[in-house]
Symmetry: C2
């Protein structure tokens, strides 16, 4: 009874337009030599806490900025502003994901040549963001130990669309009897070979190793950019 073919057709058009804008964004990021990283997860998995910690730790050595998506409120931008990095909030209204055009608009007025890292925090949602390319170089999917080990099996598409899985809130692992081996097994069964990191933005456990990984990717990305110039 649902007019599916027409809906599917319209959705394909939206995605096609999105992919074109995403491709242009990726090209701009590459030319600027910055590393663009997006974060996806359930609401409350700790995207903003992770980002605040990351911005603060990267800042002494790097030029960093962030865009944060939410249906409503500028709370996340206010939290991230404490890191003193440039931050813009994207308010999506009732839209359940970020789109490349929203990222493009939000970047107006920023000189990307002055940035080493751009972080894009998506709306908290484990389903809808998976289909939308934002032009990012890397997509991180966050999974808090408090959410249960089965999330990769239940939301396979978003794990498949991401490059790295980050297990967050590791400081709570014992309190919730988190089965890390099961979580890792589930991630690997959905996306074999996926890089998995475990960390706590609160205690800092695992953060320094993760920053090394980010800096390594940034060096590779700058090298690629220099070669192409």
């Amino acid at each position: 009874m649902i007019p599916e073919p027409r809906l599917v057709e319209v959705r394909k058009n939206v995605l096609k337009q999105n992919d074109m804008i995403a491709r242009a964004l990726r090209e701009r990021f590459r030319e600027s030599g910055l590393l663009a990283v997006s974060l996806v997860s359930s609401p409350g998995s700790g995207k903003t806490a992770f980002l605040e910690k990351t911005l603060t730790l990267l800042q002494p050595r790097h030029r960093v900025a962030a865009l944060v998506g939410d249906l409503a409120t500028e709370n996340d931008a206010a939290r991230l502003a404490r890191s003193h990095a440039p931050v813009k909030q994207i308010i999506t209204g009732t839209v359940c994901h970020l789109e490349a055009a929203m990222v493009q608009n939000a970047l107006n007025g920023w000189d990307l040549n002055n940035l080493d890292f751009l972080f894009i925090e998506n709306v908290g949602n484990l389903v809808c963001p998976s289909s939308y390319d934002l032009g990012e170089d890397l997509r991180f999917v966050l999974l808090a130990v408090t959410e249960g080990e089965d999330k990769p099996l239940k939301y396979p598409t978003i794990f498949n669309s991401a490059d790295v899985a980050i297990i967050t809130k590791s400081d709570l692992a014992d309190a919730v009897e988190f089965d890390e081996a099961a979580a890792r097994r589930n991630i690997q069964s959905v996306r074999p070979g996926m890089k998995v990191s475990k960390l706590s933005s609160k205690t800092g456990e695992g953060m320094m190793e993760f920053l090394d990984y980010l800096e390594m990717n940034r060096r590779n990305c700058r090298a690629a950019s220099a070669v192409s110039k």
Copy 2:
């Protein structure tokens, strides 16, 4: 650049069809004298744990059944089957929410006259399920103490579409320094007068009071059904 008017029009048609089916479902539920309750929340807020506990505790005195929605896997149905209540899994594929037609199809073969309570667990998503009426009498939105107190402000639509807010995983409140007063204040600012319960499916804290509330609603609903016959 996105063909918004056309997309909006198609979406409105989908919603209209959904509302018609939801209305027919609500009528069937009323005639059967059962109480239909749906659960919405982020992935990992504890919908399935809450439902397993509720089914187990209600069963000695009531006839209960559940439908559970997920993108993939029948894990939740398997977990809920431990309660020995009839359970069906609805696999949505890539669809980020349940629709009334999915509920209607899943009920095929069940005699609703033999049920006192029907629970419908939506896909874990704080955005998309808000727009879809499933014919339920009551909609519960779950918020785990591990998710942060600001979720009602950031996802106001789903809190507005729900009747009751349930704060789950209360046993972890101290470990995560949960600010209950702030959470309640945020819920009330989004939906003034909303009923809020706090409980733990793990320790059972708050569960008995909540079952009293469910049973009271079921009595009211049966009384209304008897009057209309």
